[in-house]
């Protein structure tokens, strides 16, 4: 063969390449199984008739938690409240369940429990946990309850339960697929919950976690929604009266933590401080902005402790603890930042700072010097969510159970019990 022919053939192959490239296509197929939930509707009368103590139920999806006396009140997200007898923390007993559809938050004062029931607030007498009774419904006080994925229920009825369905779907990937939450139709967005509490009144107030959206201070209960701070007068405990609503001035308000005459409100964009000298008219006195992130907050006399975490519900990319100086309450200053893995709830008792660091477990620090936190103990192997440290017992809500740690001796902090969570 002539050399020129060889060159021609070779060149032909080379020239074909860029033209043929455009003829081929990549394919990408996404196969995923998601769970969706079908609402089970009941009439208001049916739901209200069922709000009472019933036999204990398995804990499957724990949410907010409140500790009062010898009892733990644990929210089962969107379903109700478990009552756990904790007279012996080494062997807590799940003794009853209160069916409250749509419940995500709760607060306790004395023998009175306040809980959200979708858009309503229900007040219950829990003096006998085995036979609780409804005292009042405040209707429509939480109007901003919404459902993910654009779901709107039948407004004439109440969603009492959800039936889970699993579906496997195959679809083309595309290059910007719409993110789909398997908990579609579950409402995580706008609930209220019980928080920390301060009290000058005679009745003891339940101690809530740092993820709380309800807080009781003396004779008022404060709740936060995505944008608002709402005040109820509970001078007469079983007759809460709506008093006021204040726009916080931020989107995505998440938590509320009371300390003395201040409310510390955590939002995804910052921390807000309100003065409640006039309990019915909270006044904004300071704020601290941070990057977009979920941010439970607690405080003491001198410092505020804010955990920032990333995640799909939080959008941000920061995972850290920020300590703010509160010398000038109207102008909190960032004092120190500590990196964490995925910090959630936190609690402080004396100089001990407890931080739920997601999959890194529970971390306990000596916070005597906030500029130099010293790790005392870490409990790994659990995925922690929120903690209440009170009376030498740290109550931890984790993915697989409710843990209790004895920290009476800081050199020997140890697990004393675990209440398991049923997997469904």
């Amino acid at each position: 063969m002539k050399k020129s022919t060889k060159v021609f053939k070779t060149a032909l192959i080379l020239l074909l390449f860029p033209f043929l490239n455009s003829c081929v296509k990549d394919t990408c197929r996404r196969i995923y199984t998601y769970s969706y939930y079908l609402p089970v509707y009941k009439t208001t009368a049916e739901v209200r008739a069922n709000i009472k103590s019933s036999s204990p139920q398995e804990i499957t999806n724990p949410g907010k938690i409140v500790l009062l006396g010898n009892y733990i009140f644990l929210n089962e997200v969107d379903k109700g409240i478990h009552i756990i007898d904790n007279r012996n923390p080494a062997s807590p007993q799940n003794i009853a369940f209160i069916n409250i559809p749509g419940n995500m938050d709760l607060a306790l004062k004395g023998n009175t429990l306040y809980a959200d029931l979708y858009t309503d607030m229900v007040t219950l007498d829990v003096s006998n946990p085995l036979n609780v009774s409804v005292k009042k419904y405040n209707e429509g006080v939480f109007p901003y309850r919404i459902y993910n994925s654009g779901f709107y229920g039948d407004s004439t009825k109440i969603i009492a339960d959800w039936i889970k369905r699993d579906t496997t779907v195959a679809q083309s990937c595309g290059y910007n697929p719409v993110y789909y939450s398997p908990n579609a139709y579950m409402d995580f967005s706008n609930a209220q919950s019980s928080g920390g509490s301060t009290n000058n009144s005679s009745s003891p107030i339940g101690k809530g976690g740092s993820m709380a959206r309800f807080a009781i201070v003396n004779n008022r209960i404060y709740t936060v929604s995505n944008t608002d701070l709402t005040v109820f007068d509970i001078t007469t405990a079983d007759n809460p009266v709506y008093e006021n609503k204040v726009n916080v001035g931020s989107w995505n308000v998440e938590t509320i933590f009371p300390f003395k005459d201040k409310l510390f409100i955590g939002s995804q964009s910052g921390m807000f401080i309100y003065n409640i000298n006039n309990p019915d008219k909270p006044v904004s006195i300071g704020q601290f902005s941070h990057v977009q992130s979920c941010d439970p907050v607690i405080a003491d006399d001198n410092f505020a402790y804010v955990t920032l975490r990333s995640g799909t519900a939080c959008q941000g990319f920061s995972n850290q603890l920020e300590i703010l100086q509160l010398n000038n309450i109207t102008d909190p200053k960032l004092l120190k930042v500590y990196p964490f893995t995925n910090p959630h709830g936190l609690s402080k008792d004396g100089n001990l700072l407890f931080i739920c660091d997601g999959s890194d477990g529970l971390k306990i620090y000596n916070a005597a010097d906030v500029n130099n936190l010293k790790l005392i103990k870490q409990f790994s192997g659990i995925e922690t969510y929120d903690v209440i440290a009170y009376n030498q017992i740290a109550l931890v809500v984790a993915k697989d159970g409710l843990y209790q740690y004895d920290y009476a001796d800081v050199n020997n902090i140890h697990l004393i019990s675990k209440t398991g969570i049923s997997k469904k």
Partner: protein, 174 residues
């Protein structure tokens, strides 16, 4: 001289094909390398190949190669490869949003094409080829979802990729 060359090609002998490739497909072009070692007999060659393929996700193809030489001087050839495509360390690309965990597994690797080789010296030749190939890859991806209330959980999806592309190779045969 032609008779001598033909006689030489009819003998069974070891042959090594070492190639650099440009791999082009839908909106993407990258490189690949491969070495194929086997037996040449008469018009046929059969060997085992291994390489690195950087198209979309880096993979390690391990395959059987067969080729048939044609033409007066037997310098033209058609070839076919089939094998398994092992994933190398990869992370999901932008087609997967907000992943938190991932695990790749391999799939079928194929390549069919036509080429021409230019004799250089003794058994040394340059070769050029153009082929159409496909490599498959799967990945299981987890998205961590952290609702406001309750612990985080992971939502898993399986992605199945089939990358179809044109493969332009140049190499050295000896």
């Amino acid at each position: 001289m032609a008779v001598s060359a033909t006689a030489q090609k009819k003998k069974i002998h070891f042959q090594s094909v070492n190639q650099f490739a440009m791999v082009g497909g839908e909106s993407h072009m990258n490189t690949a390398f491969q070495t194929i070692n086997g037996i040449n007999f008469s018009n046929w060659f059969s060997g085992i190949g291994i390489g690195i393929d950087n198209y979309r996700y880096k993979t390690l193809p391990l395959f059987m190669d067969g080729r048939w030489y044609f033409g007066d001087d037997r310098n033209g050839f058609v070839y076919g490869d089939i094998g398994y495509n092992f994933p190398m360390k990869n992370k999901p690309g932008k087609e997967i949003y907000n992943y938190s965990t991932y695990h790749f597994t391999g799939g079928i690797y194929t390549d069919l094409g036509i080429g021409y080789q230019v004799p250089l010296y003794k058994r040394y030749s340059l070769l050029f080829s153009l082929g159409y190939g496909s490599k498959e890859l799967k990945t299981n991806v987890g998205n961590t979802i952290c609702p406001f209330a309750g612990p985080c959980f992971v939502d898993y999806s399986n992605y199945e990729f089939s990358f179809n592309r044109m493969i332009l190779k140049a190499g050295l045969v000896f």
